[in-house]
Symmetry: C2
Subunit: 252 residues, 2 copies
Amino acid sequence: MTSTPTAAIIIIGNEILSGRTQDININYIAKKLTNAGIKLIETRIIPDNHQIIIKTVNELRAAVDYVFTSGGIGPTHDDITSDAIADAFGVSNSIHPESYKLLEDYIGKENFNLARQKMAHLPQGSTPIPNPISIAPGYKMNNVYVMAGVPKIMQAMFDQILPTLQHGNPIISKSWYAFHASEGKIAHDLEQIQHKYLNLDIGSYPFYKNKNQNGITLVVKGQDKKAIEQAAQQIYDLFKQMGYEPHQGEPS
Amino acid sequence: MTSTPTAAIIIIGNEILSGRTQDININYIAKKLTNAGIKLIETRIIPDNHQIIIKTVNELRAAVDYVFTSGGIGPTHDDITSDAIADAFGVSNSIHPESYKLLEDYIGKENFNLARQKMAHLPQGSTPIPNPISIAPGYKMNNVYVMAGVPKIMQAMFDQILPTLQHGNPIISKSWYAFHASEGKIAHDLEQIQHKYLNLDIGSYPFYKNKNQNGITLVVKGQDKKAIEQAAQQIYDLFKQMGYEPHQGEPS
Protein backbone atom coordinates (compact mmCIF):
# COMPACT_ATOMS: atom_id res chain seq x y z
CA MET A 1 0.00 0.00 0.00
CA THR A 2 1.33 3.42 -0.91
CA SER A 3 1.31 6.40 1.43
CA THR A 4 -1.97 7.49 -0.14
CA PRO A 5 -4.28 4.47 -0.04
CA THR A 6 -6.77 4.17 -2.89
CA ALA A 7 -10.43 3.19 -2.90
CA ALA A 8 -13.39 2.44 -5.17
CA ILE A 9 -17.12 2.37 -4.49
CA ILE A 10 -19.60 -0.01 -6.10
CA ILE A 11 -23.27 0.93 -5.69
CA ILE A 12 -25.37 -2.14 -6.41
CA GLY A 13 -29.00 -1.44 -7.16
CA ASN A 14 -31.49 -1.27 -10.00
CA GLU A 15 -33.30 1.50 -8.13
CA ILE A 16 -30.39 3.90 -8.63
CA LEU A 17 -30.04 3.08 -12.34
CA SER A 18 -33.78 3.46 -12.96
CA GLY A 19 -33.76 6.88 -11.33
CA ARG A 20 -36.19 5.81 -8.61
CA THR A 21 -33.63 6.66 -5.93
CA GLN A 22 -31.17 9.55 -5.74
CA ASP A 23 -27.94 8.05 -4.39
CA ILE A 24 -26.46 9.79 -1.36
CA ASN A 25 -24.07 7.03 -0.26
CA ILE A 26 -21.29 7.93 -2.68
CA ASN A 27 -21.01 11.47 -1.37
CA TYR A 28 -21.08 10.31 2.26
CA ILE A 29 -18.23 7.86 1.69
CA ALA A 30 -16.29 10.19 -0.62
CA LYS A 31 -16.15 13.04 1.89
CA LYS A 32 -14.95 10.80 4.71
CA LEU A 33 -12.32 9.10 2.54
CA THR A 34 -10.96 12.48 1.47
CA ASN A 35 -10.70 13.59 5.08
CA ALA A 36 -8.86 10.37 5.87
CA GLY A 37 -6.34 10.89 3.09
CA ILE A 38 -7.67 7.94 1.08
CA LYS A 39 -8.03 8.63 -2.62
CA LEU A 40 -11.31 7.59 -4.23
CA ILE A 41 -10.27 6.49 -7.71
CA GLU A 42 -13.55 5.40 -9.23
CA THR A 43 -17.20 4.74 -8.48
CA ARG A 44 -19.52 2.45 -10.38
CA ILE A 45 -23.26 2.01 -10.15
CA ILE A 46 -24.29 -1.44 -11.38
CA PRO A 47 -27.51 -3.46 -11.50
CA ASP A 48 -28.52 -6.38 -9.26
CA ASN A 49 -26.96 -8.87 -11.66
CA HIS A 50 -24.87 -11.82 -10.48
CA GLN A 51 -22.28 -11.82 -13.27
CA ILE A 52 -21.90 -8.03 -13.38
CA ILE A 53 -21.35 -7.87 -9.61
CA ILE A 54 -18.65 -10.58 -9.82
CA LYS A 55 -16.88 -8.93 -12.75
CA THR A 56 -16.97 -5.45 -11.20
CA VAL A 57 -15.82 -6.57 -7.76
CA ASN A 58 -12.95 -8.62 -9.17
CA GLU A 59 -11.82 -5.82 -11.45
CA LEU A 60 -11.83 -3.14 -8.78
CA ARG A 61 -10.47 -5.16 -5.84
CA ALA A 62 -7.38 -5.83 -7.93
CA ALA A 63 -7.03 -2.15 -8.82
CA VAL A 64 -7.34 -0.36 -5.47
CA ASP A 65 -6.58 -0.85 -1.79
CA TYR A 66 -10.17 -0.71 -0.55
CA VAL A 67 -13.48 -1.49 -2.26
CA PHE A 68 -16.77 -0.45 -0.67
CA THR A 69 -20.03 -1.92 -1.89
CA SER A 70 -23.49 -0.75 -0.93
CA GLY A 71 -26.79 -2.55 -1.52
CA GLY A 72 -28.29 -6.00 -1.97
CA ILE A 73 -27.69 -7.71 1.38
CA GLY A 74 -31.28 -7.83 2.66
CA PRO A 75 -33.67 -10.80 2.87
CA THR A 76 -35.61 -10.44 -0.40
CA HIS A 77 -35.13 -12.17 -3.75
CA ASP A 78 -33.51 -9.06 -5.27
CA ASP A 79 -30.77 -9.11 -2.62
CA ILE A 80 -28.10 -11.08 -4.40
CA THR A 81 -24.88 -9.33 -3.45
CA SER A 82 -23.55 -11.93 -1.00
CA ASP A 83 -23.90 -14.87 -3.39
CA ALA A 84 -22.04 -12.83 -5.99
CA ILE A 85 -19.29 -11.73 -3.57
CA ALA A 86 -18.78 -15.37 -2.52
CA ASP A 87 -18.49 -16.40 -6.17
CA ALA A 88 -16.13 -13.49 -6.87
CA PHE A 89 -13.81 -14.97 -4.23
CA GLY A 90 -14.52 -18.61 -5.11
CA VAL A 91 -15.87 -19.45 -1.65
CA SER A 92 -19.24 -20.60 -0.33
CA ASN A 93 -21.88 -18.26 1.06
CA SER A 94 -22.99 -20.05 4.21
CA ILE A 95 -24.41 -19.55 7.67
CA HIS A 96 -22.18 -17.49 9.94
CA PRO A 97 -23.09 -18.96 13.36
CA GLU A 98 -22.43 -15.84 15.41
CA SER A 99 -24.46 -13.61 13.09
CA TYR A 100 -27.19 -16.26 12.94
CA LYS A 101 -27.47 -16.24 16.73
CA LEU A 102 -27.53 -12.43 16.93
CA LEU A 103 -30.25 -12.17 14.30
CA GLU A 104 -32.30 -15.01 15.76
CA ASP A 105 -32.21 -13.35 19.18
CA TYR A 106 -33.18 -10.01 17.68
CA ILE A 107 -35.98 -11.27 15.45
CA GLY A 108 -37.25 -14.09 17.67
CA LYS A 109 -36.94 -17.80 16.93
CA GLU A 110 -40.53 -18.15 15.68
CA ASN A 111 -40.09 -15.38 13.10
CA PHE A 112 -36.59 -16.29 11.98
CA ASN A 113 -37.67 -17.72 8.63
CA LEU A 114 -35.48 -18.76 5.70
CA ALA A 115 -35.58 -15.31 4.09
CA ARG A 116 -34.28 -13.70 7.26
CA GLN A 117 -31.71 -16.44 7.75
CA LYS A 118 -30.29 -15.40 4.37
CA MET A 119 -28.95 -12.28 6.09
CA ALA A 120 -26.83 -14.53 8.36
CA HIS A 121 -25.13 -16.11 5.34
CA LEU A 122 -21.70 -14.62 4.80
CA PRO A 123 -19.00 -15.56 2.32
CA GLN A 124 -16.57 -18.04 3.91
CA GLY A 125 -13.64 -16.21 5.47
CA SER A 126 -15.35 -12.84 5.84
CA THR A 127 -15.58 -10.80 9.04
CA PRO A 128 -18.96 -9.28 10.00
CA ILE A 129 -19.45 -5.52 10.25
CA PRO A 130 -22.03 -4.92 12.97
CA ASN A 131 -25.32 -3.26 12.08
CA PRO A 132 -26.58 -1.25 15.06
CA ILE A 133 -29.85 -0.37 13.30
CA SER A 134 -31.31 -3.69 12.18
CA ILE A 135 -28.63 -6.24 13.24
CA ALA A 136 -28.19 -7.95 9.82
CA PRO A 137 -24.44 -7.47 9.32
CA GLY A 138 -22.27 -6.21 6.52
CA TYR A 139 -18.86 -7.82 6.20
CA LYS A 140 -15.26 -7.43 5.18
CA MET A 141 -13.92 -9.95 2.67
CA ASN A 142 -10.22 -9.30 2.12
CA ASN A 143 -10.14 -5.69 0.90
CA VAL A 144 -13.85 -5.59 0.01
CA TYR A 145 -16.29 -4.03 2.48
CA VAL A 146 -19.87 -5.06 1.83
CA MET A 147 -22.49 -2.71 3.27
CA ALA A 148 -26.25 -2.23 3.22
CA GLY A 149 -27.85 0.17 0.74
CA VAL A 150 -30.16 2.00 3.15
CA PRO A 151 -28.19 5.20 3.87
CA LYS A 152 -28.72 5.17 7.63
CA ILE A 153 -27.40 1.61 7.90
CA MET A 154 -24.64 2.12 5.36
CA GLN A 155 -23.43 5.15 7.32
CA ALA A 156 -23.40 3.24 10.62
CA MET A 157 -21.37 0.48 8.97
CA PHE A 158 -18.96 2.80 7.21
CA ASP A 159 -18.31 4.78 10.39
CA GLN A 160 -17.13 1.55 12.02
CA ILE A 161 -14.93 0.63 9.06
CA LEU A 162 -13.20 3.99 8.63
CA PRO A 163 -11.01 3.88 11.78
CA THR A 164 -9.73 0.42 10.78
CA LEU A 165 -8.41 1.61 7.40
CA GLN A 166 -4.89 2.85 6.76
CA HIS A 167 -5.20 6.62 6.49
CA GLY A 168 -3.01 8.79 4.29
CA ASN A 169 -2.00 12.36 4.90
CA PRO A 170 -5.30 14.21 5.04
CA ILE A 171 -6.28 15.77 1.74
CA ILE A 172 -6.94 19.38 2.62
CA SER A 173 -8.47 22.07 0.50
CA LYS A 174 -8.90 25.79 0.47
CA SER A 175 -11.24 27.65 -1.80
CA TRP A 176 -12.18 31.14 -2.85
CA TYR A 177 -15.27 32.09 -4.80
CA ALA A 178 -16.33 35.28 -6.55
CA PHE A 179 -19.64 36.39 -7.98
CA HIS A 180 -19.71 37.46 -11.65
CA ALA A 181 -16.27 35.87 -12.16
CA SER A 182 -15.76 34.18 -15.50
CA GLU A 183 -13.73 31.01 -16.04
CA GLY A 184 -12.61 32.17 -19.46
CA LYS A 185 -11.15 35.36 -18.05
CA ILE A 186 -9.04 33.72 -15.33
CA ALA A 187 -8.23 30.43 -17.10
CA HIS A 188 -4.83 31.41 -18.46
CA ASP A 189 -3.45 32.77 -15.19
CA LEU A 190 -5.02 29.95 -13.21
CA GLU A 191 -3.20 27.43 -15.34
CA GLN A 192 0.07 29.17 -14.54
CA ILE A 193 -0.65 28.75 -10.83
CA GLN A 194 -1.43 25.05 -11.40
CA HIS A 195 1.88 24.67 -13.25
CA LYS A 196 3.76 26.13 -10.30
CA TYR A 197 2.18 23.65 -7.88
CA LEU A 198 2.18 20.30 -9.63
CA ASN A 199 1.58 18.41 -6.38
CA LEU A 200 -1.72 20.26 -5.91
CA ASP A 201 -5.01 19.77 -7.67
CA ILE A 202 -6.58 23.11 -8.61
CA GLY A 203 -10.18 22.97 -9.78
CA SER A 204 -12.47 25.62 -11.19
CA TYR A 205 -16.21 25.21 -10.65
CA PRO A 206 -18.81 27.60 -12.04
CA PHE A 207 -21.99 28.11 -10.08
CA TYR A 208 -25.30 29.32 -11.47
CA LYS A 209 -27.49 30.30 -8.56
CA ASN A 210 -29.61 32.81 -10.46
CA LYS A 211 -29.06 35.68 -12.86
CA ASN A 212 -27.26 37.87 -10.36
CA GLN A 213 -25.43 35.19 -8.44
CA ASN A 214 -23.38 33.40 -11.05
CA GLY A 215 -19.70 33.00 -10.44
CA ILE A 216 -16.89 30.55 -9.93
CA THR A 217 -15.27 28.73 -7.06
CA LEU A 218 -11.56 27.92 -7.27
CA VAL A 219 -10.47 24.99 -5.12
CA VAL A 220 -6.90 24.08 -4.17
CA LYS A 221 -6.54 20.54 -2.88
CA GLY A 222 -3.61 18.45 -1.78
CA GLN A 223 -1.51 17.22 1.11
CA ASP A 224 1.12 19.98 1.30
CA LYS A 225 -0.33 22.58 3.65
CA LYS A 226 2.24 25.27 2.94
CA ALA A 227 1.89 24.96 -0.84
CA ILE A 228 -1.90 25.08 -0.47
CA GLU A 229 -1.70 28.34 1.48
CA GLN A 230 0.58 29.85 -1.16
CA ALA A 231 -1.52 28.75 -4.12
CA ALA A 232 -4.71 29.93 -2.40
CA GLN A 233 -3.13 33.33 -1.83
CA GLN A 234 -2.28 33.55 -5.52
CA ILE A 235 -5.85 32.65 -6.39
CA TYR A 236 -7.07 35.39 -4.07
CA ASP A 237 -4.71 37.83 -5.79
CA LEU A 238 -5.86 36.66 -9.22
CA PHE A 239 -9.51 37.31 -8.38
CA LYS A 240 -8.59 40.77 -7.05
CA GLN A 241 -6.46 41.60 -10.06
CA MET A 242 -9.35 40.69 -12.39
CA GLY A 243 -11.64 43.02 -10.47
CA TYR A 244 -13.62 40.37 -8.58
CA GLU A 245 -14.28 40.31 -4.85
CA PRO A 246 -13.02 36.98 -3.41
CA HIS A 247 -14.92 35.23 -0.60
CA GLN A 248 -13.43 32.32 1.27
CA GLY A 249 -15.07 28.89 1.16
CA GLU A 250 -18.03 27.88 -0.99
CA PRO A 251 -21.10 29.92 -1.98
CA SER A 252 -24.06 28.84 0.15
CA MET B 1 -29.96 -1.93 -31.67
CA THR B 2 -32.43 -4.11 -29.77
CA SER B 3 -35.99 -3.09 -28.98
CA THR B 4 -34.77 -1.85 -25.60
CA PRO B 5 -31.81 0.44 -26.26
CA THR B 6 -29.10 0.48 -23.60
CA ALA B 7 -27.12 3.35 -22.11
CA ALA B 8 -24.25 4.20 -19.77
CA ILE B 9 -23.32 7.41 -17.98
CA ILE B 10 -19.78 8.61 -17.31
CA ILE B 11 -19.47 11.43 -14.79
CA ILE B 12 -16.06 13.05 -15.21
CA GLY B 13 -14.93 15.12 -12.25
CA ASN B 14 -12.54 15.10 -9.31
CA GLU B 15 -15.07 17.18 -7.38
CA ILE B 16 -17.54 14.29 -7.26
CA LEU B 17 -14.90 11.76 -6.18
CA SER B 18 -13.56 14.07 -3.47
CA GLY B 19 -17.04 14.52 -2.04
CA ARG B 20 -17.01 18.28 -2.67
CA THR B 21 -20.05 17.97 -4.92
CA GLN B 22 -23.14 15.77 -4.56
CA ASP B 23 -23.91 14.52 -8.06
CA ILE B 24 -27.46 15.10 -9.28
CA ASN B 25 -26.85 14.53 -12.99
CA ILE B 26 -27.07 10.73 -12.83
CA ASN B 27 -30.54 10.79 -11.35
CA TYR B 28 -31.76 13.38 -13.84
CA ILE B 29 -30.59 11.32 -16.81
CA ALA B 30 -31.62 7.99 -15.28
CA LYS B 31 -35.25 9.04 -14.75
CA LYS B 32 -35.64 10.35 -18.28
CA LEU B 33 -34.01 7.29 -19.85
CA THR B 34 -36.34 5.01 -17.92
CA ASN B 35 -39.36 6.97 -19.11
CA ALA B 36 -38.05 6.67 -22.67
CA GLY B 37 -37.67 2.90 -22.43
CA ILE B 38 -33.88 3.09 -22.58
CA LYS B 39 -32.12 0.83 -20.11
CA LEU B 40 -29.30 2.40 -18.10
CA ILE B 41 -26.81 -0.46 -17.70
CA GLU B 42 -24.03 1.17 -15.76
CA THR B 43 -22.72 4.46 -14.44
CA ARG B 44 -19.14 5.36 -13.67
CA ILE B 45 -17.68 8.35 -11.89
CA ILE B 46 -14.07 8.90 -12.91
CA PRO B 47 -11.40 11.54 -12.31
CA ASP B 48 -10.21 14.25 -14.72
CA ASN B 49 -7.51 11.95 -16.08
CA HIS B 50 -6.72 11.65 -19.77
CA GLN B 51 -5.98 7.93 -19.90
CA ILE B 52 -8.85 6.94 -17.62
CA ILE B 53 -11.35 8.95 -19.69
CA ILE B 54 -10.13 7.28 -22.90
CA LYS B 55 -10.27 3.78 -21.42
CA THR B 56 -13.70 4.26 -19.88
CA VAL B 57 -15.26 5.85 -22.96
CA ASN B 58 -13.89 3.15 -25.25
CA GLU B 59 -15.03 0.35 -22.96
CA LEU B 60 -18.56 1.65 -22.55
CA ARG B 61 -19.22 2.90 -26.08
CA ALA B 62 -18.56 -0.64 -27.28
CA ALA B 63 -20.89 -2.11 -24.65
CA VAL B 64 -24.05 0.00 -24.94
CA ASP B 65 -26.09 1.90 -27.52
CA TYR B 66 -25.68 5.36 -25.95
CA VAL B 67 -22.99 6.82 -23.71
CA PHE B 68 -23.57 10.13 -21.91
CA THR B 69 -20.68 11.99 -20.36
CA SER B 70 -20.91 14.99 -18.07
CA GLY B 71 -18.12 17.34 -17.03
CA GLY B 72 -14.81 18.74 -18.18
CA ILE B 73 -15.67 20.79 -21.28
CA GLY B 74 -15.10 24.30 -19.90
CA PRO B 75 -12.20 26.72 -20.56
CA THR B 76 -9.92 25.96 -17.58
CA HIS B 77 -6.86 23.71 -17.33
CA ASP B 78 -8.83 21.00 -15.52
CA ASP B 79 -11.28 20.70 -18.44
CA ILE B 80 -9.66 17.89 -20.40
CA THR B 81 -12.62 15.84 -21.60
CA SER B 82 -12.58 16.88 -25.27
CA ASP B 83 -8.90 16.08 -25.79
CA ALA B 84 -9.54 12.66 -24.28
CA ILE B 85 -12.67 12.02 -26.35
CA ALA B 86 -10.78 12.93 -29.52
CA ASP B 87 -7.98 10.52 -28.57
CA ALA B 88 -10.53 7.81 -27.71
CA PHE B 89 -11.78 8.07 -31.30
CA GLY B 90 -8.34 8.64 -32.82
CA VAL B 91 -9.25 12.03 -34.29
CA SER B 92 -8.02 15.58 -33.74
CA ASN B 93 -9.64 18.06 -31.38
CA SER B 94 -9.77 21.22 -33.42
CA ILE B 95 -11.68 24.44 -33.98
CA HIS B 96 -15.27 23.93 -35.05
CA PRO B 97 -15.86 27.09 -37.14
CA GLU B 98 -19.58 27.40 -36.50
CA SER B 99 -19.17 27.01 -32.73
CA TYR B 100 -16.21 29.38 -32.82
CA LYS B 101 -18.35 32.03 -34.48
CA LEU B 102 -21.25 31.58 -32.08
CA LEU B 103 -18.99 31.85 -29.03
CA GLU B 104 -17.06 34.79 -30.42
CA ASP B 105 -20.29 36.67 -31.06
CA TYR B 106 -21.57 35.84 -27.58
CA ILE B 107 -18.38 36.68 -25.69
CA GLY B 108 -17.16 39.53 -27.86
CA LYS B 109 -14.08 39.45 -30.10
CA GLU B 110 -11.86 41.36 -27.64
CA ASN B 111 -12.56 38.90 -24.82
CA PHE B 112 -12.46 35.72 -26.89
CA ASN B 113 -9.08 34.57 -25.55
CA LEU B 114 -7.35 31.22 -26.06
CA ALA B 115 -8.93 29.66 -22.98
CA ARG B 116 -12.41 30.50 -24.23
CA GLN B 117 -11.53 29.37 -27.74
CA LYS B 118 -10.84 25.94 -26.23
CA MET B 119 -14.60 25.55 -25.84
CA ALA B 120 -14.96 25.84 -29.63
CA HIS B 121 -12.61 22.89 -30.18
CA LEU B 122 -14.59 19.75 -30.92
CA PRO B 123 -13.36 16.28 -31.89
CA GLN B 124 -13.28 15.95 -35.70
CA GLY B 125 -16.55 14.47 -36.96
CA SER B 126 -18.67 15.40 -33.97
CA THR B 127 -21.96 17.32 -34.07
CA PRO B 128 -22.48 20.18 -31.60
CA ILE B 129 -25.24 20.07 -28.99
CA PRO B 130 -26.37 23.66 -28.43
CA ASN B 131 -25.97 25.23 -25.00
CA PRO B 132 -28.77 27.77 -24.44
CA ILE B 133 -27.28 28.88 -21.10
CA SER B 134 -23.69 29.79 -21.86
CA ILE B 135 -23.32 28.94 -25.60
CA ALA B 136 -20.22 26.67 -25.29
CA PRO B 137 -21.56 23.50 -26.91
CA GLY B 138 -21.63 19.84 -25.97
CA TYR B 139 -21.40 17.39 -28.84
CA LYS B 140 -22.32 13.99 -30.19
CA MET B 141 -19.43 11.81 -31.37
CA ASN B 142 -20.86 8.59 -32.81
CA ASN B 143 -22.84 7.12 -29.92
CA VAL B 144 -21.15 9.27 -27.26
CA TYR B 145 -22.92 12.43 -26.05
CA VAL B 146 -20.55 14.83 -24.32
CA MET B 147 -22.25 17.30 -21.97
CA ALA B 148 -21.29 19.98 -19.45
CA GLY B 149 -21.07 19.14 -15.75
CA VAL B 150 -23.04 22.11 -14.40
CA PRO B 151 -26.50 20.57 -13.81
CA LYS B 152 -28.48 23.41 -15.38
CA ILE B 153 -26.44 23.23 -18.61
CA MET B 154 -26.29 19.43 -18.62
CA GLN B 155 -30.08 19.30 -18.31
CA ALA B 156 -30.59 21.73 -21.18
CA MET B 157 -28.28 19.64 -23.36
CA PHE B 158 -29.79 16.30 -22.38
CA ASP B 159 -33.32 17.55 -23.03
CA GLN B 160 -32.29 18.29 -26.60
CA ILE B 161 -30.62 14.90 -27.02
CA LEU B 162 -33.45 12.77 -25.64
CA PRO B 163 -35.94 13.22 -28.53
CA THR B 164 -33.25 12.20 -31.02
CA LEU B 165 -32.61 8.82 -29.36
CA GLN B 166 -34.36 5.59 -30.30
CA HIS B 167 -36.88 5.00 -27.53
CA GLY B 168 -37.96 1.58 -26.30
CA ASN B 169 -41.29 0.63 -24.87
CA PRO B 170 -41.63 2.84 -21.81
CA ILE B 171 -40.54 1.14 -18.62
CA ILE B 172 -43.50 1.61 -16.33
CA SER B 173 -43.73 0.90 -12.64
CA LYS B 174 -46.33 0.59 -9.96
CA SER B 175 -45.58 0.54 -6.28
CA TRP B 176 -47.23 -0.05 -2.94
CA TYR B 177 -45.76 0.81 0.42
CA ALA B 178 -46.75 -0.08 3.97
CA PHE B 179 -45.60 1.25 7.32
CA HIS B 180 -44.24 -1.27 9.84
CA ALA B 181 -43.94 -3.87 7.08
CA SER B 182 -40.93 -6.16 7.31
CA GLU B 183 -38.97 -7.46 4.34
CA GLY B 184 -38.22 -10.72 6.12
CA LYS B 185 -41.90 -11.42 6.65
CA ILE B 186 -42.97 -10.95 3.04
CA ALA B 187 -39.79 -12.11 1.28
CA HIS B 188 -40.88 -15.70 0.62
CA ASP B 189 -44.25 -14.81 -0.89
CA LEU B 190 -42.80 -11.87 -2.78
CA GLU B 191 -40.29 -14.19 -4.42
CA GLN B 192 -43.19 -16.39 -5.59
CA ILE B 193 -44.76 -13.37 -7.27
CA GLN B 194 -41.44 -12.53 -8.94
CA HIS B 195 -41.21 -16.14 -10.20
CA LYS B 196 -44.64 -15.86 -11.78
CA TYR B 197 -43.67 -12.69 -13.68
CA LEU B 198 -40.18 -13.27 -14.99
CA ASN B 199 -40.46 -10.38 -17.46
CA LEU B 200 -40.98 -7.95 -14.58
CA ASP B 201 -38.47 -6.59 -12.13
CA ILE B 202 -39.86 -6.60 -8.59
CA GLY B 203 -37.86 -4.67 -6.03
CA SER B 204 -38.21 -4.33 -2.28
CA TYR B 205 -36.94 -1.13 -0.64
CA PRO B 206 -37.02 -0.53 3.11
CA PHE B 207 -37.46 3.03 4.31
CA TYR B 208 -36.43 4.37 7.70
CA LYS B 209 -38.11 7.72 8.15
CA ASN B 210 -38.10 7.66 11.93
CA LYS B 211 -39.02 5.21 14.67
CA ASN B 212 -42.70 5.12 13.84
CA GLN B 213 -42.46 5.44 10.09
CA ASN B 214 -40.32 2.53 9.04
CA GLY B 215 -41.65 0.26 6.37
CA ILE B 216 -41.09 -1.06 2.88
CA THR B 217 -41.96 -0.09 -0.66
CA LEU B 218 -42.50 -2.83 -3.23
CA VAL B 219 -41.96 -1.75 -6.82
CA VAL B 220 -43.05 -3.63 -9.94
CA LYS B 221 -41.30 -2.47 -13.07
CA GLY B 222 -41.38 -3.57 -16.68
CA GLN B 223 -42.87 -3.02 -20.11
CA ASP B 224 -45.92 -5.33 -19.93
CA LYS B 225 -48.71 -3.15 -18.55
CA LYS B 226 -51.17 -5.98 -17.93
CA ALA B 227 -48.61 -8.11 -16.09
CA ILE B 228 -47.62 -5.08 -14.00
CA GLU B 229 -51.24 -4.52 -12.96
CA GLN B 230 -51.60 -8.18 -12.00
CA ALA B 231 -48.36 -8.37 -10.05
CA ALA B 232 -49.13 -5.08 -8.28
CA GLN B 233 -52.52 -6.45 -7.26
CA GLN B 234 -50.83 -9.52 -5.80
CA ILE B 235 -48.44 -7.29 -3.88
CA TYR B 236 -51.40 -5.35 -2.53
CA ASP B 237 -53.01 -8.62 -1.47
CA LEU B 238 -49.76 -9.81 0.12
CA PHE B 239 -49.49 -6.66 2.26
CA LYS B 240 -53.14 -7.07 3.31
CA GLN B 241 -52.71 -10.76 4.10
CA MET B 242 -49.72 -9.99 6.33
CA GLY B 243 -51.77 -7.42 8.24
CA TYR B 244 -50.24 -4.29 6.70
CA GLU B 245 -52.13 -1.36 5.21
CA PRO B 246 -50.92 -0.78 1.63
CA HIS B 247 -50.62 2.75 0.20
CA GLN B 248 -50.06 3.36 -3.47
CA GLY B 249 -46.90 5.08 -4.69
CA GLU B 250 -43.90 6.04 -2.58
CA PRO B 251 -43.80 7.33 1.00
CA SER B 252 -43.22 11.08 0.98
